[in-house]
């Protein structure tokens, strides 16, 4: 078991090295960060001096080795734009993204469950047909389009909801890090449109998933038996059938949440939501390369760590995984 864990961790480190190397390889293609730091009058020579001071003129290997050395010390570099450590910037932006994903996940859970169950129980009703039709539309519409449409309908034309930003936020832990929008009215109304947009990608999928799982379960022997026994329909549907539907749904949900983080880049840009996704896209435009690499490292390491942990847990639960890995 010990050897297995060591092997998994070594693999994880190897993956991280590859991620950092890929990040480093593309960084020179994104543009010159010094351009964004100086005015148009500054001469090429002066820019070269700044580049020199930043160590951008060193060879690839020299820069990479220096970077690895700093990472070992917990330093992911300085963001050119924010003028502070890149890690601080990313950690500071994380709460906004987490709240957006949480809000969207909440909407998905609250809407997909009743609709999924309903469409499974009454597949021929007008309402079900409408929901299924609408969900096809939803799944085929890109998220930025949904977002812009929502802004124009509810923000610009009806003036019901704000069109951008996070609104009023309050400090959650008293140290200024986690600014939450969930505890103020203004913050909550600012959450509505971005969360709906983000949820719109996954919502149709879950309605369909719950529906098909539920329909399958409704055909099983034990449900038929329950009918025969004369149990009340509500009890059969919600306690016996729905409970068993949930298992695969929860598994898929876990995977999809990760994918949702990727979609935050688009949602956050349209709504100018001050989270990690927006920060990432801005960093690309400003060629804030040290922030970009730090972002790749942070997001990469979160994924790698979670996967490694899961693998190790599997090893404990199912010993055959370990044996298969043995030479």
């Amino acid at each position: 078991m010990f050897a297995f864990i060591i092997r998994r961790i070594t693999q994880a480190i190897f993956v991280m090295l590859i991620i950092s190397m890929v990040g480093f390889a593309i960084k020179n293609k994104i543009g010159d960060p010094v351009r964004d730091l100086v005015g148009e009058r500054v001469t090429a020579e002066e820019r070269a001096i700044i580049r020199d001071r930043l160590g951008l003129n060193d060879s690839f290997t020299a820069q990479y080795v220096r970077f690895l050395g700093n990472v070992a010390k917990g330093d992911l570099g300085q963001s050119f734009f924010y003028k502070k450590p890149a890690l601080d910037v990313i950690v500071g932006k994380a709460p906004a993204t987490l709240e957006l994903v949480f809000g969207a996940a909440l909407i998905i859970v609250l809407v997909s469950m009743p609709l999924g169950v309903y469409t499974a129980l009454k597949p021929r009703s007008f309402m079900s047909r409408f929901v299924m039709g609408f969900s096809t539309l939803g799944v085929s519409m890109p998220v930025f389009l949904t977002a812009i449409m929502l802004i124009y309908i509810f923000g610009v034309n009806l003036h019901w909801l704000p069109s951008y930003g996070r609104g009023e936020t309050v400090d959650l832990f008293g140290n200024g890090w986690w600014q939450t929008g969930f505890l103020t009215t203004d913050g909550l109304i600012h959450l509505i449109l971005p969360c709906i947009s983000l949820a719109s990608i996954m919502l149709p999928l879950f309605i369909r998933l719950i529906r098909s799982e539920m329909m399958e379960v409704l055909e099983t022997e034990y449900i038929k038996y329950a009918w025969a026994k004369g149990l009340s329909p509500m009890r059969i549907w919600l306690v016996h059938a729905f409970k068993n539907t949930l298992l695969p749904v929860v598994t898929v949900f876990g995977v999809q949440i990760g994918i949702m983080f990727a979609f935050t880049i688009l949602t956050e840009t349209v709504f100018q939501w001050q989270g990690m996704g927006y920060m990432f896209l801005e960093a690309v435009e400003r060629s804030d390369i040290s922030l970009l690499i730090a972002y790749l490292i942070v997001v990469g390491s979160v994924f790698v760590m979670v996967n490694t942990l899961v693998d190790i847990l599997y090893g404990f639960i199912n010993p055959t995984v370990r044996i298969a890995g043995r030479k």
């Binding site: 930043l54 802004i151 909801l161 069109s163 951008y164 930003g165």
Partner: protein, 517 residues
Amino acid sequence: MKKMMMLVLGLFMVMSVGFSANAKTITVGLDADPVSLDIHVQLSGGMLQLSHWCFDPLVRWTKEMTFEPRLATSWERINEYRMRFHLRKGVKFHSGNTFTAKDVKWTFDRMRNSVDYKGLIEPFVGIAIVDDYTVDIITAKPYALLLNMATYFFAMDSAFYTGMDENGQPKDAIVKIGPSFALNNASGTGPFTVTSREHGVKVVFERFKDYWDTNSPGNVDKMVITPIKEDATRVAALLSGDVDFITPVPPQDFKRIESDPNVKLVTCNGGRIITLQMNQERRPEFKDVRVRQAMVYAINNAGIVSKIMKGTATVAAQQGPEGYAGYKPELTPRYDLAKAKALMKEAGLEKGFECTMIAPNNRYVNDEKIAEATVQMLAKINIKVNLKTMPKAQYWDEFDARAADIQMIGWHSDTEDSGNFTEFLMMCADKATGYGQYNSGLYCNKRVDELTLAAQSEVDLVKRADLLKEIEQILYDEAAFIPFHWQNHSYAGKKELGIAPVINSMNFPYFGDMVVE
């Protein structure tokens, strides 16, 4: 369920009305927020806007392009090299310190340490303090643009920026990357103090209670600046009432804003010229003046202004716009396709040729669309252009490397004077002197160089204007570049905001003087 939703939404509406009743606070949506509170860290439009909100210059530009006394109350020429400025008395900095001549000198000396400003203040020898409220500004050569430059001489609070910060770094250090005292602290004499700042999220300003300019009609007590980079989102934010003022306004949304009764659109002529440079070394055909002229004749720049810019630009045929010293009204746009074809034939190139072109796609208003239109227009005289557009982060390296035969560049004169265009764009490129730094076409005419240098030290403004006009004429005749237009500045805001009186062609909205009804 539906009723419930309507009820909740209705409630929110009532509440949001309650918020906006809080008068004299304005929320401003800009495409970017100031990169720092240190006004010398970068020389850019955004930083100069901030300078006018938190600091005051000796003099500033008015809407009519005249000079308005700010920290200097009056000035007079002592001799060709020296101008005396009498400073305003009783002016307080945000820190409570009193403003004196020493602050003017200190701030000027600080500019020498700024990579961005040191080139700008090169004509100056320095500032001599005569007494507490009088300074002399001294130049190395006779210099006609001294007052133009005095608009850059903001006063920083020298006592406030002296000493060491908590990191053991001098408080006056100008740091491009990494923390510095001036990055997050500012003390000027300007109408607003910064109360909080989160870079990339928002900056909150409050009116300075001891502001010296008690005649200013401005009544904005609090101002919140938020960067909203996406054009569509910025417009939506204004239309939905989330912000009170936005700039810039994308041309495609002008109609939408004008049709909304709650908001208004205000535009103002600007001085940024958009041009194409034709590289004569990469492409020998461009050495032939007839080919260059043919290209200028082939470009329907009036059409571009009306169709692509939706009328929010002024068609150009020379570098400096009207109001600048070198402006020559006789130089008019010259779109004439027949003439263009004739010139190509004369040059023996009626079959045309193929060439490359690059342009940015996020630097100037509709830059990519202008470039695409150019390709179609030049195709009519059989010049096949292979266009490549790219974001500005990548563009400038390619531009410097002269990577294509035709390259787009826009330029706004720092000094609001015609000479500056020629110095950077049209003088023979020379690494040693730094002239022609952005002359990627490698156009070179010794006469133009001579005239530009002569204009620099000519103090007689009439003679100087003649020199500058001659330059424009030569560049026009030789078709040294392809002119498109001068970009207008565009602003939009709620009806109750007094926008028109505070804007100007420099794109420095003087929010300190803004009146909100």
